[in-house]
């Protein structure tokens, strides 16, 4: 991770997140944005960063638009939601737009650092509520148009997480390594993004936009 953008309207939070970023990725280039419009402009013109920490509730809009734009223009960029919301109602849209993780701004910077390290190493966080949402999303009879359904293992992992167990416990229960479990979760997030795009395209076609 060489470069990171932080979209956040509170200066104190910039400092707080910066501290965590410096701890995990020493010497990383941090670009700060306070308004959504500036970040969107930068995404269109500047070279994309390796990592983006994005707040959802901004004075001039929702951070989800930046996640969508980056996901379109720079799929390599890892988008992480940094907000004060921890509920699936707020996080699910961001994940569908392409976010690969989420953290709470009010967590201690050590916790934030740990989460960021996990995300960078391909261990995205997954709460029981999000896992339940994902299970519902990938239920075959609802999304029959889905091109990439979940594998059985991926579904199993989601089921275990949905019961409140940790990734480590899931790995032990399934008799696989924690690393493999992380791989599954990452793959689940990717499929979520792909199916959400397909869904959006289908919706657009259905309402006559495309």
């Amino acid at each position: 991770m060489k470069s990171v953008w932080v979209l956040e309207d509170l200066p104190e939070s910039h400092v707080w997140l910066g501290k965590a970023l410096e701890a995990v990725f020493p010497g990383i280039a941090v670009q700060r944005y306070f308004r959504l419009a500036d970040a969107l402009e930068a995404a269109r013109t500047l070279p994309p960063p390796d990592l983006a920490l994005i707040d959802l509730s901004l004075p001039d809009g929702s951070g989800i638009s930046l996640i969508k734009l980056l996901n379109d223009q720079a799929p390599a960029t890892v988008c992480v939601v940094a907000s004060i919301y921890d509920d699936d109602l707020h996080l699910m849209p961001a994940l569908r737009a392409g976010a690969q993780g989420f953290l709470l701004k009010d967590q201690s910077w050590e916790q934030i650092a740990e989460l960021l390290r996990g995300i960078a190493e391909g261990r995205p966080p997954l709460s029981p509520a999000i896992a339940r949402r994902l299970l519902a999303h990938f239920r075959p009879q609802i999304h029959h148009y889905m091109t990439e359904p979940l594998t059985q293992r991926e579904t199993e992992v989601l089921g275990i997480i949905a019961k409140g167990m940790t990734l480590a416990e899931a790995a032990r229960l399934l008799g696989i390594s924690a690393h493999t479990v992380s791989g599954y979760t990452k793959e689940i997030y990717r499929k979520l993004n792909v199916s959400s795009r397909a869904e959006a395209a289908l919706t657009a076609r259905n309402i006559g936009l495309v």
Partner: protein, 620 residues
């Protein structure tokens, strides 16, 4: 209108009687009378002449009695001669110059009943010879004393002889008024009676309809005595039978009057019913010569009953039904007048009228009463429809009113629920956020406790998130709640370096926990875990959760250094837990653990049921 018809009828009925002096028609008003049983005209006739009409008042030699009327007449040169007899009771035969030229029917019992029938007998002109010609009329019948009504007493009216063309209109007119009209009236009375009875049938509570309908039909049947000629029994038996038919008529018409004013009397009804039996028996038992006198007595008795009932009727209708008093009263008084006239006729105080007055006039009155009844029925129906409409309108109004009240009530309840919810949120904000913000504001004065301030602020944020969830959240399935608890608890304790042993049962997915309850329980668990992390110095923590349909048990134990060394600030955390347990109607116990550490035991009542409904027993 009905009266007009009656008087018109009377007037017309009298007309032919006054116009008897036609040019070529001879009126024969004297005859020699011979009383014998011969079936051929008598050879010897007395010189004494009796005037016609001739009524049989003296005692008979045999029954039925037979009399020969011998009349001589001059031929007036008629082309088509005929004899017209206005009334010959009970039956007659006509002989011209010793030749039988016409008969009304059977001359032996059972006699043909021709008392009301006019007779027109045509004969060949060739039967006439040089004057004087001879006309013999044979009449069989019963003297007035042997029959129940004077109209059917034996006798012969004046005899007219002349051209058929002149006599036929007289015959037709008489026939119409006496016979055809009686038949038409009979049918009309029967139909009206049926209609009124049908009305009474659908409206049993108004008995007077049934009585009146029955009265009309009985009258129609009794009226058959006017035009029924052939009956398979003797004239005397017929007299008893026809007169007896009037007894049930009296019964029904009097009952009608009493029911009309809603004053039926059981004893009156019983008396009248007995009368229906007694009158036929009496008439059948009295000796034949006393039949007329007995019948007159019965008529007077009935008239008396009628007058009494009428007086009773007038008194009641005057007091309670003034409108009916005038309408019905007029009809009934007219009826009374007719009855009085008939009584007078029967007792020979008045001459026998040409037509049967009672029988023509009564139906007109009945018709007026019947129309009045039908009109009342229709009025009641109209009134009932109007009331029904009003009722429907009132029901609609009330329904709208109730719906309006219900809407208001439900608005009020929503408002009350919202108020209660606001109260809870306010209480939460004060108790949790408020307390933490106070601590933050006080602790921030001391630079050496920055970390504590940050921790308190994070807790405040976390509390706020929970409050928001409690405010917006829907009831959550219990397994989901347990999963969230497990995830959070294990993560926090693990991060703090405490080994967690989680033990919870697996409730059914249908069991829903209301958001408020979820929030309160989450806070208690969170506080308990916070205590373990912050104060106990524990290395291990056991969390036990047991959910049943009616309660939830939560135990948090640690192997730290126990309760005694709790810091002062722990008081607030424990206080919050105790308060929340109380809000949930539950109990919270904090006891030292054997071998060191603390046990926290929470027990709250639930009211879960399998279909996913939840009764908020906790009052959260």
């Amino acid at each position: 209108m009905a009266y007009l018809l009656v008087f018109l009828a009377l007037f017309c009925g009298l007309l032919p009687v006054q116009a008897q002096s036609a040019s070529a028609t001879r009126v024969l008003d004297q005859a020699s009378v011979v009383q014998n049983t011969s079936i051929t005209p008598p050879d010897q006739v007395p010189d004494a002449l009796s005037p016609l009409p001739h009524d049989w008042l003296d005692s008979p030699a045999a029954l039925p009695e037979q009399r020969w009327y011998h009349i001589t007449f001059d031929d007036a040169g008629w082309v088509l001669p005929a004899v017209y007899v206005e009334r010959a009771c009970t039956n007659l035969e006509v002989w011209v110059n010793g030749q039988l030229v016409g008969s009304g029917g059977a001359m032996v019992e059972p006699l043909t009943r021709n008392c009301y029938y006019p007779q027109l007998i045509r004969f060949q002109r060739s039967l006439l010879h040089s004057n004087p010609n001879r006309l013999d009329i044979r009449v069989v019948g019963y003297p007035a004393a042997y029959v129940a009504a004077r109209q059917r007493g034996g006798g012969l009216s004046q005899v007219l002889i002349g051209e058929q063309a002149e006599l036929v209109p007289r015959f037709d007119a008489r026939y119409f008024w006496n016979i055809t009209l009686a038949q038409v009236i009979g049918i009309c009375m029967l139909l009206l009676g049926l209609v009124i009875t049908a009305l009474g049938w659908v409206r049993r509570q108004d008995r007077h309809y049934l009585y009146f309908g029955a009265a009309l039909m009985l009258w129609a049947v009794a009226g058959a005595r006017l035009y029924v000629q052939h009956v398979p029994f003797t004239v005397l038996a017929g007299e008893v039978l026809f007169t007896s038919l009037l007894a049930p008529f009296v019964y029904t018409i009097l009952q009608f009057l009493l029911h009309y004013v809603h004053q039926p009397r059981r004893w009156v009804q019983q008396l009248l019913m007995w009368q229906c039996v007694a009158v036929p028996v009496l008439l059948a038992l009295v000796p034949a010569p006393a039949l007329a006198a007995t019948a007159r007595g019965v008529y007077v008795l009935w008239s008396g009953e009628f007058v009494l009932t009428l007086a009773f009727f007038a008194w009641h209708s005057w007091r309670f039904m003034r409108r009916d008093f005038w309408l019905m009263g007029a009809n009934l008084v007219l009826m009374l007048a007719l009855v009085a006239a008939e009584i007078a006729v029967q007792n020979a105080w008045l001459a026998l009228p040409k037509i049967h007055l009672v029988h023509l006039a009564m139906p007109a009155i009945f018709l007026a009463i019947g129309v009045r009844l039908v009109q009342q029925f229709a009025a009641v129906l109209t009134e009932s429809e109007r009331l029904n409409r009003e009722l429907e309108q009132r029901v609609a109004d009330k329904t709208a009113e109730i719906a309006h009240s219900y809407a208001q009530l439900s608005d009020l309840r929503v408002e009350q629920a919202a108020a209660a919810e606001r109260q809870r949120i306010a209480s939460d904000l004060h108790d949790d956020l408020g307390a933490k913000l106070v601590t933050i504001s006080q602790a921030s004065l001391y630079a050496n406790d920055i970390g504590r301030v940050a921790e308190l602020a994070r807790q405040a944020l976390s509390d706020m998130r929970l409050s928001v969830r409690g405010l917006t959240g829907a009831p959550a399935p219990l397994p989901y709640v347990l999963a969230d608890w497990r995830s959070e608890t294990v993560e926090r304790l693990t991060l703090a370096g405490v080994a967690v042993f989680w033990n919870a049962n697996d409730p059914a997915l249908e069991w829903m926990l209301p958001a408020r309850m979820q929030v309160q329980l989450t806070r208690i668990l969170r506080e308990a875990v916070s205590n373990v992390i912050r104060h106990s110095g524990a290395r291990m923590c056991w969390v036990d959760i047991h959910v049943a349909r009616d309660h939830l048990r939560l135990g948090v134990e640690d192997d730290g250094h126990g309760f005694d060394t709790q810091q002062a600030s722990l008081g607030q955390g424990l206080g919050n837990m105790l308060r929340r347990a109380r809000v949930l109607n539950g109990t919270l116990q904090i006891v030292p653990r054997e071998g060191g550490g603390v046990c926290i035991h929470l027990n709250v009542p639930l009211a879960l049921n399998p279909i996913g409904q939840f009764t908020d027993a906790g009052g959260a």
